[in-house]
């Protein structure tokens, strides 16, 4: 059965416009229909922007210690103040975006990469392999996320790289579950049967017929996953189990030793937390909007 794709009002309008104008209309359309999603996209873009252009936009070196200028309040020479070592907070926050985004991207690549592979294979072939994978996933999901992260980091050692690995591994289970269930429902479609009937090999069916149809949930878990990976990195760094000083990791900037300083200089406690919150909020809002737009089945699930 071929379903004729209905043109949306948006596409009809777009047909008469140049590409540049059309892009503008799409953005406008998104802003109107999903204002929160657009706000999320804006926050995410801001993060990517500061991560990519950190050397250009940061006013100072994030590690440079200005002697005699510790604990400067926000305003004046240092827009967001300085920390106990006289380092510029704004520059540290901007460079911190780089660490966060890098950890997020690599962890999500590991997590959704393996998750997609396992989910595709176990959902498509089923049988004993699927059963085995399911039990492994069950065992992995039997640990609260942070506890599994801590256990992995404890045995691999504390470093930013190991945090990426730990967070990535922890994400595999959830990703596998979601991809697998999407594959299970896709597998029953007639076009799969048709592909089989014309003699396609399994690998071709998986790559060309199943994978494109489970792309939406994969992209959604990747988007939301970026937010939670960044959150996990900052939690681990906060506990001293992730990025090590003097790295300008947001979680590390909030970590325990400086709490007395935070009472006398509250900006030290407020700005890094705001940076993490806005980033996580950005990915959450964007993920929610994508879920509503692309995949009504997952609506409301988290």
């Amino acid at each position: 059965m071929t379903t004729a794709r209905r043109l949306s009002a948006q596409e009809v309008v777009l047909s008469g416009l140049t590409r540049g104008q059309a892009g503008g209309v799409v953005v406008l359309h998104l802003c109107q229909r999903k204002p929160l999603g657009a706000f999320g996209a804006f926050l995410v873009l801001a993060l990517i922007f500061s991560a990519a252009l950190a050397p250009v936009v940061a006013p100072f070196d994030p590690l440079e210690q200005f002697s005699g200028k510790a604990f400067r309040p926000p305003g004046g020479e240092f827009l967001l103040g300085t920390d106990y070592a006289g380092r510029d907070m704004l520059s540290r926050l901007i460079w911190g975006a780089r660490i966060s985004l890098m950890v997020g991207i690599i962890a999500v690549t590991i997590g959704t990469g393996f998750g997609t592979l396992l989910g595709l294979v176990s959902g498509f072939w089923g049988g004993r392999f699927d059963l085995g994978v399911q039990r492994v996933i069950d065992a992995m999901q039997a640990f609260p996320g942070l506890v599994l992260n801590l256990a992995i980091v404890a045995s691999l050692g504390k470093s930013t790289e190991n945090v990426m690995i730990a967070v990535g591994i922890t994400m595999i289970a959830g990703a596998t579950r979601i991809v697998r269930s999407a594959v299970l429902s896709t597998r029953e479609n007639q076009y799969i049967e048709a592909a089989r009937a014309v003699g396609c090999r399994d690998s071709r069916i998986l790559l060309w017929h199943v994978l494109p149809n489970v792309m939406a949930p994969i992209l959604i878990i990747a988007t939301v996953g970026l937010g939670s990976a960044i959150l996990a990195e900052s939690s681990l760094s906060f506990l001293g189990m992730g990025s090590q000083p003097p790295n300008p990791s947001w979680g590390l900037m909030l970590s325990g030793s400086g709490r007395a300083n935070m009472i006398s200089s509250p900006w030290l406690a407020i700005f890094p937390g705001l940076a993490i919150s806005l980033t996580v909020m950005g990915f959450n809002l964007l993920g929610d909007a994508l879920r509503d737009l692309w995949d009504p089945r997952l609506r409301g699930s988290r």
């Binding site: 492994v136 065992a139 045995s155 691999l156 919150s277 988290r302």
Partner: protein, 315 residues
Amino acid sequence: MREYIIRRVLLMFPTLFGVTLAVFILMHLAPGDVVMAKLSEDYVTQEHIDRMRAELGLDKPLYEQYLFWVTNVLRGDLGTSLWSATPVRDELARRIPVSAELAILSMAVSIAIALPLGVLSAIRQDTVADYVGRFLSISALSAPNFWLGTLILVLPAIWFGWAPPVRYVPLTQDPWMNLQQVLPAALALGAHSSAVVMRMSRSTLLEVLRQDYVRTAWAKGLSERVVVVRHALKNALIPVITIWGSQLSHLLGGTVVMETIFSLPGVGLATFQAIERRDFVQLQGNVLFIAGVFVVMNLLVDLTYSWLDPRIRYR
């Protein structure tokens, strides 16, 4: 129902087996084993190392070590802490009440804040109250719990010069002092669940309020309180409880963070300290315990749903 319970309980065992395997593998991934970690400070001879390995059974093949460990675990023996040389089990037992109090209190706090806000947001949809409630919940969803914890410690100190007592006092000894310590931690820990519950209760209540039987209740001339509480809320509660139960992972992981920030001597703090001290035996025991609690609690939560909503059993 009975069949469902039996099936779910039986399914728990392969998971628990996988958990022990995962914990064992994780703890043996560490570069350098327990003995090296323990002896790293002192000057030691190879002979010394070998003897200690033999004592701890580390010279045996891995599968034998695993079997040995699992048999002991089944007997309730989790080994001896490398750091304090006391049984891991005793250390755990001492710390469980602290974590349990924190977890229960934060669950209670979260529902106590979230449910009224969610209801208010739903029955006053698109008013200022609704917007404020939704803004609060989106913020609380995004704010990391360790940041909220830090703010709860820092802000009152700045504004009122108040800080929670530093030395932990058990609930049984001085409830007031104890609550001053645990309640701030529970607030910070419960904020996330609170936001999730609030969003869920708002959206399900909105859905239920549009049902025909609610219109009938209005038409009968019942007061708003009766319509909302007795007719609508009751039916909106099942998904709310479901999502409340799904917060367990966040809650158990969060105890590690909160106990570290507020220096509450619970299982979470012990886990953190075990990593710092490279006390792999204690860490292994704690992680196993937390995962075990998580599995059992998840089962209980699932059984509760199926009891509340019989449709779930036939999925």
